[in-house]
């Protein structure tokens, strides 16, 4: 198990569907123990059937997940979380509608034992473009989008396919570091939103019951220039939402590659990490053959 807890940040304006997504993640956690921190006026909007027990500060949820709220002090809430007896596998922060995700990510990065693992910004397909030019909240929304690694276009069923396409083009400008995914009713695949977990190959082999996304595992020869590969995998035409895996670099060191949207990170890998890089993306967008071909140019 890694020493640090990965923290996924879910941002987006009021009504974009953050809470629906959180409930969907809790429903499909599939053995992953999630700790959800909610900052929306202290409301704990967890679907009732998921709740096992409710204390003053904490809700216990089926499958070993928990949920608690935080007020104006996120760091204190995370520090409280670190003191819990049962260690979660992953933290999910549901931002308030006006929060700037990069500020939250920066705060997370300060705390020992936590590491930011992707910012997902929810987009209301019907209203986002109007809201983005609103006199009061327009700049808040464009700042949120600029911070995104993944944008999740929600309520896509309420608009035309042409509108979604137009929205995707628009998002490429406002969220240049992000891949956009399309969702209905906040139903986005867990592995895509939260990442592939500590053991990507195992996660991949567990299959994708919801059938919403596809994945491939790239074999990794010894002596790989990870940075060249990462740049290829984050280029414009490759629709990888997340990728994670381990390789041996040109100096013979075992390294971890981590991609969220169009950002990547290469770090020292844990000992004996299994070689290979798992890439996932949304069905319909994801082209495994193209990824293999592109990757082979770097391998």
């Amino acid at each position: 198990m890694p020493e640090t807890l990965p923290v996924t940040i879910i941002g987006g304006y009021l009504g974009a569907g953050k809470t629906t997504l959180v409930n969907h993640l809790l429903r499909t956690a599939n053995g992953r123990k999630l700790a959800v921190l909610v900052n929306e006026f202290g409301a704990l909007p967890i679907d009732e059937d998921l709740i096992e027990a409710q204390g003053d500060d904490l809700i216990s949820i089926a499958g070993g997940c928990i949920c608690c709220s935080f007020g104006s002090d996120l760091s204190a809430a995370l520090m409280n979380l670190a003191e819990l007896k049962v260690r979660p596998d992953q933290v999910v922060i549901e931002c308030s509608g006006v929060a700037i995700p990069s500020a939250i990510a920066a705060s997370v990065s300060l705390l020992d034992g936590f590491v930011p693992d992707g910012t997902v910004v929810m987009v209301d397909a019907e209203t986002i473009q109007e809201a983005a030019v609103d006199e009061y909240i327009g700049d808040t929304i464009t700042r949120q989008l600029a911070d995104a690694d993944l944008t999740l276009i929600n309520k896509a069923d309420l608009v035309s396919a042409a509108h979604v396409t137009q929205l995707e083009t628009w998002l490429r400008t406002l969220a240049p570091s992000a891949r956009s995914l399309v969702a209905e009713h906040g139903k986005a695949p867990l592995d895509m939103v939260l990442g592939l977990g500590a053991n990507p190959r195992e996660s991949q082999q567990m299959g994708h019951a919801d059938g919403l996304f596809e994945s491939i595992a790239l074999p990794c020869p010894n002596s790989l220039n990870g940075e060249i590969l990462a740049r290829k995998l984050t280029s414009d035409t490759i629709h990888i939402a997340r990728a994670k895996g381990f390789f041996v670099d040109e100096l013979g060191a075992l390294k971890a590659l981590h991609i969220v949207g169009r950002r990547f990170d290469i770090t020292v890998a844990p000992e004996n990490a299994p070689l290979g890089i798992v890439c996932i993306g949304l069905k319909g967008q994801f082209d495994g053959d193209l990824i293999r071909k592109t990757a082979s140019e770097a391998l």
Partner: protein, 546 residues
Amino acid sequence: MKTTVFSAKKIVTMNPQKPEASHVAIREGRILAVGSLEEIATWGDYELDERFADKVLFPGLVEGHAHTMEGTLWRYVYCGYFDRMDPNGKTWKGNKSIEDVLASLSAAEALLEDPDAPLTGWQLDPIYLDNKPITRAQLDSVSATRPIGVMNASGHILYVNTKALELAGLMKSGVNHPGISLGNDGMPMGELKGPDAMTPVGEHVGLNRSMTDSDERGLRDFARLCVRTGVTTVTDLAARLEPDGVETMLRVTGEPNFPACVVPLRFFLGLPPKELIPEVARLKKLTTDRLSLGRIKVVADGSIQGFSARMRWPGYHNSAPNGLWYISPEQMQEIYELALAEGIQVHTHTNGDQATQLAIEKLELALKKVPSNDHRFVLQHCQLADRAQFKKMAALKMSVNLFANHHFYWGDEHYRLTVGPDRALRMNATRTALDCGVPMTIHSDAPVTPLGPLFTAWCAVNRLTASGRTQGEHEKITVDEALWAVTMGAAHTLHMDGLIGSIEVGKRADFAVLESDPREAEPEKLKDVEVWGTIQGGRVFAAADA
């Protein structure tokens, strides 16, 4: 029923029916009669108390925006630039240089017996010290072995030494946070901006996580400051009001010698609006003579000097990006509508003029859905409002509490850096507010600036900045207007004007006991009017004994 009659050199009533009197009668903690002894004697037997024969009785002063945590802060080392009086009445000399600050800290450090105990300071304001943050290396010179933390006057920045960073696990390279500046060696310099940067270190330097809640001793100490400044009713403007806190406040304020009425406002975070309003309605029923509950504080934006206030065009003078919302427009309106329906008063912190505009527009929409003839919603700070906004506030029957003290302490900074000359001149536009017919008070925001309504009145009358410039001549108000603002004006904003704010039959017997009549003070000497103490609910409190 016992009646006590106080005679005084003069009684200034703030009641136009009888502006001055020689005697006031008190029964059951309330004002029975005001006038001559003959007039009062018509009520029957009384006991005459002549100890104030050479004093002026003035309506008890009302501070409409303060935080009781000031009482707690005085247990830490005072590091401020200006001389400041503590709850014991001792005036601490201002620290005029970094060397002074380090000397104050060292003197306190020498008194600590436990070698691991943290050393905590407060009220440091580098703006006055060549605008350079204090560094961990400088604080290490006070002690390299015990954790040290010094809070900025704003409360939103913390300066710490190396030991404190080590304890928090932040004494390392690679720290990447906009609130933490790094030195040439790649290590944190010791300056931590914003709650998320402060919290991980705060607990190691003696600042607990719920610092805004005043504890028992802090509450008593704060009340002693009230006695020394003539204050008989004081707000605690952003209280969490959790069950333990409410119980503590009820118990401490209920002590026989607790000398003030405290008005804590429930901070809006922590409960969704649909639960917040019923909770505050429940709290309202717990109100006692000395603890007035049942109001909500909403925070719309941040601060101007922190560049987190929401500004309209042309934004910040130094081109900083616009500030931050702490509530979404939709949620603001939801709180307003629910509160109007329940008859709960809402005070909204708006510093920037865009935040002010949003609050005005949202209240207008809410009032269309839930009409209310006397909601008394208040904008707090409202520092940059222009005439059009004040006119709109008047039309909507809103009130305002302007930050007159801020103008003195940071006016130069606003002129030079944050908003530029045009808007700096109109900041805290007391004249315009009154001319537009907006009921108005003025405040200290203690501990941000010192509690003292007569000083606050002086700030609004003279509009001097710390460097001695008059900033915004046209926004000055008269001494009488300023004194009205810190009595009846503040009472109005708390919806307590039927109970406090003037010396008038039926009202609570709350007086500031002064050495002279502030209405007769030279405008530039208004802050120097001496306070003997207070009478609160008919009980006498001498500053000398507080």
